[in-house]
């Protein structure tokens, strides 16, 4: 009597799904990623917009205030204030930043004589928080100085335009969408992470967890092929990963609609085409991620080892896109590999550049075939006694 493997697969899958959906903790964990991503993207965009649009007060320690009252007034107009006026709650911060400007005693006399004046700006230039204040202080002083210079020339009857020998007119060819790059980069990263994270608890539980609870051994004594068993577990874990990705995608596009990106001259929208393309890109990744997790979890000796090993796999979607940002001349094969291929296509998608469907299909096929390879490797492993009984 041969038992139909399709009906066996149905029974295996329905049991895996029942167990997965009844495991409330695993489901909660799976869905945290979907909830976290939109919140993070929302918060970070808010901060970014605020930084880009507003000019917060800068408190500068100036020695020799009395020598250059007009310069001080110009600085004040750009919200660059004296350190003496700093409110108490910000005092320590600005004291630590220690931005100091030294105005020489001879400022006024040199100004009258038309001599170059040296004023000293000292600060820790490697401190990231100082960069924006330094930039603003420099530009304010430069503008102030230049306006005086122009006046000097005008008085002497010289056209100011003589100073502008070559004028660069900049034309930004990036599409309006590209300005929201950070948001879309983050969304891409989060989607990849969601594909890897959501299925993770289920994948570990179905493999290393079942072995530790002695139920895997019993299942392997039954007349069912190991390919079938692995496929059922994979389908279950990937299904949950897919749900996680879809949830992340929909919640994010919902939350981004609350951010007013026009303030920084950017626009971000997920149209129907983009969403379909994203889903098509990410479904193979969900399967690949779950297969990889199952593979590693089956290999490890116990539940704990499985957990720590599988958590290392999560580094993949986080690291690969970041590394790719630093590689300027990307080799061709990066387009084809799982994760890197998808993240490159996603980047183009978000930039609004045309996406090659062939490349997309090809990358998907590579990902799927690697998944199938993993399935067969696992099925083979499950037939060996060392893996089943966690020997060696």
């Amino acid at each position: 009597m041969m038992i139909s493997s399709l009906s066996q697969f149905k029974a295996l899958l329905s049991k895996e799904l029942k167990e997965a959906f009844r495991d409330k903790r695993a489901m909660m964990l799976a869905m945290t990623m979907a909830v976290m991503a939109p919140v993070m993207i929302f918060a970070m965009s808010k901060v970014m917009i605020k930084e880009a649009v507003e000019t917060p007060a800068i408190y500068l320690k100036i020695s020799g205030v009395e020598y250059a009252p007009k310069l001080i007034k110009a600085l004040n107009n750009d919200n660059i204030l004296l350190f003496d006026d700093v409110p108490n709650n910000k005092k320590t911060i600005w004291d630590e930043r220690n931005l100091t400007l030294t105005i020489p005693q001879s400022f006024n006399q040199d100004m009258l004589d038309g001599k170059p004046i040296d004023i000293y700006l000292s600060a820790d230039y490697s401190e990231k928080a100082n960069l924006s204040p330094i930039r603003r202080i420099k530009s304010t002083i430069n503008i102030y100085a230049r306006s005086i210079g122009y006046k000097r020339l005008l008085i002497r009857g010289i056209d100011v335009r003589l100073l502008q020998v070559v004028n660069i007119i900049e034309q930004d060819t990036s599409l309006p969408n590209s300005n929201a790059m950070i948001i879309s980069m983050m969304l891409g990263l989060y989607l990849l992470m969601a594909a890897f994270m959501s299925g993770l608890p289920v994948a570990i539980d179905a493999s290393a967890g079942e072995r530790e609870r002695n139920v895997l051994e019993m299942l392997l004594c039954q007349p069912v092929s190991t390919v079938n068993i692995v496929m059922a577990k994979l389908c279950c874990a990937s299904l949950i990963a897919c749900i996680g990705v879809l949830l992340t995608l929909s919640l994010t596009s919902f939350s981004v609609s609350f951010i007013d990106l026009t303030k920084i001259g950017a626009s971000f929208s997920l149209d129907f085409f983009t969403i379909v393309a994203l889903i098509l890109l990410l479904i193979p990744i969900c399967f690949f991620a779950s297969a990889l997790q199952l593979f590693v979890a089956f290999q490890s000796k116990n539940f704990k080892e499985a957990q720590s090993m599988v958590s290392m796999i999560i580094m993949l979607p986080a690291m690969v896109p970041v590394i790719m940002m630093f590689v300027d001349d990307k080799p061709k094969w990066l387009n084809w590999l799982p994760i890197s291929g998808q993240s490159l296509i996603m980047e183009n998608l978000f930039k609004g550049l045309p996406v090659s469907w062939w490349l997309m299909i090809f990358t998907g096929l590579v990902t799927v075939s690697m998944t199938i390879l993993l399935v067969f490797l696992m099925a083979k492993k499950l037939r060996s006694e060392t893996v089943v009984l966690a020997l060696s």
Binding site: A11, K15, K18, R213, P223, V224, S392
Partner: protein, 256 residues
């Protein structure tokens, strides 16, 4: 019918890595041969570490023998493991339950794996649940079941497809008197229907009461076999327990 011919199995013998020293292998089975016939209950007796569980694990294909063969109803378990396993009902040495499923769902799961479907499956599950007197347990999640209750679920899932051959690894450990009797009666009825039952045990009374034939295994070898009565006569004792100790104690002489 289950036939075991010259089964050999050792653990940890192979040299594995470059830096690993070669270890002396532990010989678990050393040319073990026996036959369990249809319509009989065959018991495997043996001290701890004699190779009982290894032998049974080889039988359901979880372990690969180094040599020899195990044949179930004429099917070699190495050559055609799936076909062989479909003729087996297995009560393993280590067993766990799917703690997020109910007992019924778990039995249903194993019935489906064995190819039962529709109303036939439903009927089979109901029958086995009634036979093992576990109707009250059936629709509870198995998390927190007592040892005896867990045993019953495992037995039910092993028996739901009415296997021709039934292999049990120490089935009565942890069962109370009532449950043990239920199991014994069930096995006896199974035997009447012409099934082949093979079980390992430590409990002498049980083996004496239940088994038609007893196989005594020691150090992976067959030490003696026969009916309980024959074994007593062989050792010159009246009680099976005494006979067992005597047979195990003397390595040579009594081996059949």
């Amino acid at each position: 019918m289950i036939e075991v011919n010259n089964l050999r199995k050792s653990f940890g013998g192979a040299k594995k890595g470059w830096f690993q020293k070669e270890k002396t292998p532990v010989i678990a089975l050393d040319s073990l041969s026996f036959t369990a016939n249809d319509g009989e209950i065959t018991g495997i007796l043996g001290p701890n570490g004699a190779g009982k569980t290894t032998c049974l694990r080889t039988l359901y294909g979880l372990l690969k023998a180094d040599g020899g063969s195990a044949i179930i109803d004429g099917i070699n378990v190495v050559e055609n493991p799936i076909e062989a396993r479909s003729r087996l009902g297995i009560f393993p040495d280590k067993f766990g339950l799917y703690e997020r499923l109910t007992a019924y769902e778990q039995i249903d799961y194993f019935a489906s794996i064995h190819g039962l479907q529709g109303s036939a499956k439903h009927q089979a599950i109901e029958t086995v649940i009634n036979d093992l007197e576990m109707t009250e347990l059936a629709h509870r999640k198995t998390l927190g079941f007592s040892q005896g209750q867990r045993m019953k679920v495992t037995l039910a899932q092993a028996l739901v497809h009415q296997p021709k051959n039934f292999v049990l690894d120490e089935p009565t450990r942890g069962l109370d008197v009532m449950s043990t009797r239920v199991l014994r009666n069930y096995l006896a009825r199974f035997k009447e229907k012409g099934h082949c039952i093979l079980f390992s045990s430590h409990v002498m009374q049980e083996v004496a009461a239940l088994c038609d034939r007893v196989i005594i295994v020691s150090n992976g070898k067959l030490a003696a076999q026969g009916t309980p009565k024959e074994l007593c006569e062989l050792a010159g004792e009246t009680q099976l327990e005494e006979a067992f100790v005597k047979i195990i104690g003397s390595d040579e002489g009594v081996a059949a």
